[in-house]
């Protein structure tokens, strides 16, 4: 089981902040998110990612118990 959390405007757009699911990679997680929310997959794939608090790239594999964070592009304040 992997816990996926979404932040930024994407969270408001897709109406979901958190999802717990079985998945083995970030790419697959994006596909599942698109299915679950109806938001286009590319919206998720263009995010910044972190697994267990560490910044990673899109090609990263996931294992059981990981926490994946998706941060929609943001800036400024």
């Amino acid at each position: 089981m992997v816990t996926i959390k979404i932040y930024g405007t994407l969270r408001l757009k897709c109406g979901m902040g958190q999802l717990e699911t079985y998945t083995d990679s970030i790419k697959d997680a994006c596909r599942l998110l698109a299915l679950a929310t109806g938001t286009p997959e590319k919206e998720f794939r263009r995010c910044k990612f972190a697994v267990n608090g560490k910044r990673v790239g899109l090609g990263t594999k996931l294992s059981d118990g990981d926490e994946l964070v998706l941060l929609a592009p943001s800036g400024g304040g």
């Binding site: 932040y7 930024g8 405007t9 969270r11 408001l12 902040g17 794939r45 263009r46 995010c47 910044k48 972190a50 608090g53 910044r55 790239g57 899109l58 964070v69 941060l71 592009p73 943001s74 800036g75 400024g76 304040g77």
Partner: protein, 673 residues
């Protein structure tokens, strides 16, 4: 004194509260061209009287309220006005920018700026309608909260107009300003000129409020072209991912998650860069559960302000700084409490950033056994009462009202008293955005992220260049400091400059071109240096992304291109620096607490410290300062600052008063008895 430029009203009013005398302050077109308006204009005015100012809270200090030439012309987010003075918090020049409607109405009354000097014997408020200035007694308003006093003033104005509502702009202070809390703010509608203690200076003058109204209109030089530019510009801001989506949806609060992600979220008095309960106090939670509607300052299409409910009333919601510093900063995970405190601080008229940081310093000082004050991280039940005690200077609040620099001089713990030049830092933890660390240290008004160049937007929030490298940070800081200086001077909001970054770089952070830009940026120092050294070579308007210079040209009729725009900003920045150096500021004051420069944020990873000295060397070079941080003759000459009175003035004793000065005064007073 009228003007040939458009956008300006052509008059500056000088009010001496000691004598009640109103006069017109001379301000020429040459000065308009060189010093634009806003904080730069204010700096010039203060510089001309610097030798006469005895101390920040002395009647001789000037409170200078300025607007910009774009205020009232319809340019996006242009209702901002600026209040500058010599700050009781830092003892140097401070400038505080506010989004209330006072500036808009000041121009309707026919004035570009209002200078207040002297001190009234009794509390007063000033009413301005066009050229009529009237001082009224304010004894009945003294002690009133800022919301109440604004309602009360509306009633008073209506009384004087046969019961008809009078449209007006106001600046008022709350109890904190009256009681000279060093970080008291000035309030206009729901917006605040928060930083640097401008409210205390207003309070020291016994001035509770100023109302202004009038029936004049601002005339742009080329109104048709201005309208066309505005249409294009509004559309661009609307379509940009930051100004058209993120800011209205999440407000500045939307950055909490991004900062957590980057390790930039100040936590437990800046000891850590991440807060485990951030999800309870972030912008997404605020937007999903609490925000009623997003609101904007007058003339703003971005509309980043929040509205939340406190005690059954819809009030302004917190900004990022307040959420970060009163959340993770003091280990509080109750967002509703932050709403309530934010509202209370506004009503009392106090800066939330300085108040929160002074509090977190006090908590840490208590934890370390330096000062037994009963305040503990995570203990929140007494804090509402504490704000009231600070504003009325009761008990421990009386000392907290002096700010963290003063407290650390008295009780120790300078390493973790998080201020620069006396002003407390914003919520961004600089060890994971070292460029912003340099900005905090060199910023003219003290620890401010905006006056400091806001490099963090390229260090993880927005673009993602290497946040730990010192490369290109100094030149980038200089460039953005200058740019933002001029945007403020014209009367516009700095948020219009977000659109400076093309949308595709922000929208597609994983794309090859974005990654390439991020990789190249640390090497771009020399390129930025060319613009920094010779801004005049950029004698074009930047297309699409930067409309500010063109708007200035159309509104005023000045010859203003991107290069001249940057140069005007540079002139303002260096002038402010020049004023500060005459008040004793040198390179030794451009510093950060040791927490940031000596202790890595991530244990064992030395790159998570701010390499301040390395960056400072390059910074002074890029600025045209000597290594002691003083502007060289050459740069003064180039910016036409060498002939100003302030350039020839000798360096004065610092004006900031620490605890030792207070003790001395007390001893003197005792001696007299």
């Amino acid at each position: 004194m009228s003007t040939n430029y458009g956008g300006y009203m052509g008059k500056v009013a000088l009010v001496d509260l000691a004598t009640g005398r109103i006069s017109e302050y001379p301000w020429t077109d040459e000065e308009r061209r060189l010093f634009i308006g806003g904080k730069t204009m204010a700096a010039k005015i203060i510089s001309d009287h610097l030798s006469e100012i005895v101390s920040p809270l002395d009647p001789s200090n000037l409170l200078v309220v300025t607007t910009g030439p774009l205020t009232g012309t319809g340019a996006p987010s242009s209702s901002r006005f600026n209040i500058s003075t010599i700050s009781p918090l830092t003892g140097i020049l401070t400038s505080s920018n506010c989004g209330g409607n006072f500036g808009y109405y000041l121009k309707k009354a026919g004035y570009d700026a209002l200078i207040i000097t002297g001190r009234s014997e009794t509390p007063v408020w000033l009413q301005i309608h066009n050229d009529t200035f009237r001082l009224h007694p304010a004894d009945d308003m003294w002690g009133m909260l800022t919301g109440h006093v604004q309602e009360h003033l509306d009633e008073k104005l209506a009384e004087g107009a046969n019961g008809r509502k009078v449209k007006n702009g106001k600046i008022v202070i709350g109890p904190a300003g009256e009681n000279l809390v060093r970080y008291a703010s000035v309030v206009s509608n729901e917006r605040l000129a928060g930083r640097g203690g401008v409210g205390a200076v207003m309070g020291s003058k016994n001035l509770k409020a100023v109302t202004v109204s009038g029936n004049k209109m601002v005339q742009a030089k080329k109104p048709e072209q201005m309208l066309k530019l505005n249409q294009k510009w509004f559309k661009y801001l609307h379509g940009h991912p930051l100004t058209g989506d993120q800011m209205p949806r999440l407000g500045t609060a939307g950055l909490v998650s991004a900062m957590q992600f980057n390790g930039q979220l100040s936590t437990k008095n800046y000891k850590y860069g991440q807060y485990e309960d951030y999800e309870k106090v972030n912008g997404e939670t605020l937007a999903e559960k609490y925000n009623i509607v997003n609101k904007g300052c007058l003339t703003c299409p971005i509309k980043c302000a929040r509205t939340v409910e406190v005690n059954g009333k819809a009030v302004k919601g917190p900004e990022l700084e307040t959420l970060g510093l009163l959340g993770g900063g003091i280990l509080n995970n109750d967002i509703e409490l932050i709403f309530k405190w934010n509202f209370e601080l506004d009503e009392l008229g106090m800066d939330t950033i300085s108040a929160a940081n002074t509090l977190s310093y006090a908590m840490e000082a208590n934890e370390q056994g330096l000062w037994d004050n009963g305040l503990e991280f995570g203990r929140t039940e007494t804090i509402s009462q504490l704000w009231d005690d600070i504003a009325h200077r009761r008990g421990v609040g009386n000392e907290l009202a002096e700010g963290s620099r003063w407290l650390s001089e008295k009780y120790g713990g300078k390493d973790f008293a998080v201020h620069a030049k006396g002003m407390e830092l914003a919520a961004y933890e600089p060890r994971r955005a070292v460029g912003l660390g340099l900005g905090y240290a060199t910023s003219n008004r003290g620890g401010c992220h905006l006056n400091g160049g806001y490099m963090v937007i390229m260090e993880g929030l927005g673009l993602a260049m290497d946040a730990q490298t010192p490369h290109a940070k100094a030149d980038g800081t200089v460039m953005f400091q200058d740019l933002m200086e001029c945007i403020s001077a014209t009367g516009q909001c700095l948020f219009t400059s977000y659109a400076f970054f093309p949308f595709f770089l922000l929208k597609y952070p994983q794309a090859w071109y974005t990654k390439a830009v991020n990789k190249i940026l640390p090497m771009a120092g020399p390129v930025m240096r060319i613009i920094n050294k010779y801004p005049e070579i950029a004698c074009i308007h930047l297309p699409v992304i930067f409309n500010q210079s063109k708007a200035m040209e159309l509104a005023t009729g000045m010859n203003m291109k991107f290069g001249t725009y940057i140069k005007a900003g540079k002139r303002g920045y260096v002038l402010e620096r020049l004023i500060n150096t005459k008040l004793g500021i040198t390179a030794a004051d451009d510093k950060l607490p040791k927490r940031f420069t000596d202790t890595p944020q991530v244990e064992g990873d030395d790159s998570t410290k701010v390499p301040l000295e390395t960056m400072k060397k390059v910074y002074y070079d890029a600025r045209g300062f000597d290594q002691n941080g003083l502007p060289k003759e050459k740069i003064l000459k180039k910016l036409k600052l060498d002939n100003l009175a302030v350039a020839k003035m000798p360096v004065r004793q610092p004006l900031w008063e620490g605890p030792a000065a207070a003790e001395k005064k007390e001893a003197c007073a005792d001696g007299n008895h």
